[in-house]
Symmetry: C2
Subunit: 348 residues, 2 copies
């Protein structure tokens, strides 16, 4: 089949490996932020962020060439991050055809202007023109999958969710390889909320590392702070389950691939963890932001969205004040500039 | 209050720190395996495995001095590991008094001779003399708590469970400090099964590290195998939830302190992880056992118990064949000598 991937960052490009191994023809379209990546791909067939040569059957395109890239494709992949959901909806809308399927590596949630909880596929949908939006099928990928490992053909397990289970199954068949294991699901809401929230909690798990450094590191008998990290991890899973319950979704996602699994891999390192470390070492959010200037901080984005959702007169959620105390404190730190001071006794 | 801890290993001794900080008088009784530890404690006030001097108010005793140590104590701590539950029941029984409370750091489950699933506090109970067993209250501790960190007064969060919630609350009050956070629970069954099973799944998470080494380590672009580790982690939580459901316990423990939390900290290192690495690098269980000779392998113990529970005509469980495929494969590897070959497609 012919596939277009829009967004040539780590995950957008990483997903090209299983597609290539399944003999699909892949058109990789960079966004306006990916110009240098597409240049390198066109000139040397090399992706500078993934640090790998592209697999077979991938043709790179600049965003200006998107019409040509999207022409006649069987399905599309949205490879942009959480902040790109509006842009990609607007951008691909003019080229979509009746019956096309769109699957997003983009995951997460957003607050509407009224503070309603919206999931990203619905944001993308809202940006499509009225004439096409109900004629295409949307899906999203969630679960523990570091792009560099997928591109290295390391064993990875994910969920493909779509409200239309046949769409999820169709896409799973197109992507599935002996290293990329896929479970189709019709529970798009539970998937998106779990994988969205996990970025904030990975930041919180990272705070244990920062607390350790602040306390002078390993002590004379070799004690680290794994106990604290694990308590924060469990609280993160618990809060995900509570939000899922409050919005009428499935709380068991909290201990599956998109919950505990995705939180585990995200807590192993990366920008969210780095930000958590900086905050726990005593930096204010403003200082940490300055240190990490230029990085896309999805953990911050999700905390900001949750702040709006929790403070609004909520129309579609019933998240009680005090029920997600870790998230509530992260909101104070990120949006109100308060000092980090996690109250473990408010947990569970 | 006066407290006796029986078992002077890592966790039995680690728990002395919060007790000491709460001004209790502590008698630390070594088992017959702890002779060298008690010798060092008596002569130098130093615990050689924890690599720390004992806190104030701790008096060490050899097992031969147990009668003196247990005389007049307000409550007891069982500090032995899973394999010591029978021994400690028999050993303390003659000295117990009406109304005493016993809390175990020992955690897990065991198969009865009929393959019934029993939790360790019930094993301990069964070894007490009939005249006293119903006059004492039993409790157990679960949750992510590395002993060396507790002894270093690092922040730790745990659950104290007893079928008698007042016992759990009484003990929580006796142990609670500003670094040792305790949630009382009456759900002893869910706690024990979660924390018991997690040892087997931590071994499985460790297999991702072994698989990485076997594959030649980090690849040219820096890819590890965190995706695989996270998938196994999520499957472990999922299987814990399924067993909890099958035995009529609470599946939500899978994403709380005794489930995801305890699995997270146990997966960070230790003997279970080391064993998983060896198996994934290609060693048979017999070879791995030889390499780790002399170590207490709680992961193996739990897999052996689960083998008996799953194969017996079960009287108190309804765990369906195929519902916990990772555990079933671990059973094949440990008890039948099969080669490790995890089928990820059987997951979830």
């Amino acid at each position: 089949m012919k596939v277009a991937i829009v967004g040539a960052g780590l995950m957008g490009t990483g997903i090209a490996w299983p597609l290539s191994d399944n003999n699909h023809e892949i058109r990789l379209v960079g966004t306006h932020l990916d110009k240098h990546i597409i240049k390198s791909c066109k000139e040397q067939n090399y992706h500078p962020r993934l640090k790998r040569f592209l697999p077979d059957r991938v043709t790179p395109y600049y965003v200006e060439e998107i019409e040509q890239a999207l022409d006649g494709v069987d399905f599309l992949v949205s490879g942009v991050n959480s902040l790109g959901a509006h842009w990609i909806g607007k951008t691909i809308s003019p080229y979509l055809l009746d019956g096309q399927k769109i699957i997003a590596v983009t995951k997460g949630l957003e607050a509407s202007s009224e503070g309603e909880l919206l999931i990203l596929p619905d944001i993308l949908y809202s940006e499509l023109s009225k004439s096409i939006r109900d004629k295409v099928s949307l899906a999203a990928i969630g679960g523990p999958c570091i792009a560099g490992e997928l591109a290295g053909r390391r064993q990875s397990c994910v969920v493909f969710a779509s409200r239309d289970i046949e769409t999820a199954k169709f896409l799973a068949k197109a992507f599935r390889t002996d290293y990329y294991h896929i479970w189709p699901s019709s529970d798009l809401l539970s998937l998106e909320v779990s994988v969205g929230m996990k970025n904030a909690y990975a930041m919180a798990v990272g705070m244990a590392q920062g607390a350790l450094e602040k306390a002078g590191g390993v002590d004379e008998a070799g004690a680290l702070m794994h106990n604290l990290a694990a308590a924060i991890f469990a609280q993160g899973c618990t809060e995900i389950s509570r939000v899922l319950t409050a919005i009428g979704a499935d709380p068991s996602f909290a201990y599956k691939l998109p919950g505990a699994g995705d939180l585990f891999v995200t807590s192993a390192g990366g920008r969210s963890v780095t930000l958590g470390k900086l905050l726990a070492k005593g930096h204010s959010y403003a200082e940490a932001q300055e240190i990490m200037k230029g990085e896309t901080l999805e953990a911050v984005y999700i905390v900001q969205q949750m702040a709006q959702i929790l403070s609004a007169k909520r129309t579609n959620t019933a998240i009680n004040k005090g029920s997600i105390p870790l998230m509530e404190h992260l909101i104070e730190v990120i949006t109100e500039g308060k000092s980090l001071d996690i109250n473990l006794d408010a947990f569970f």
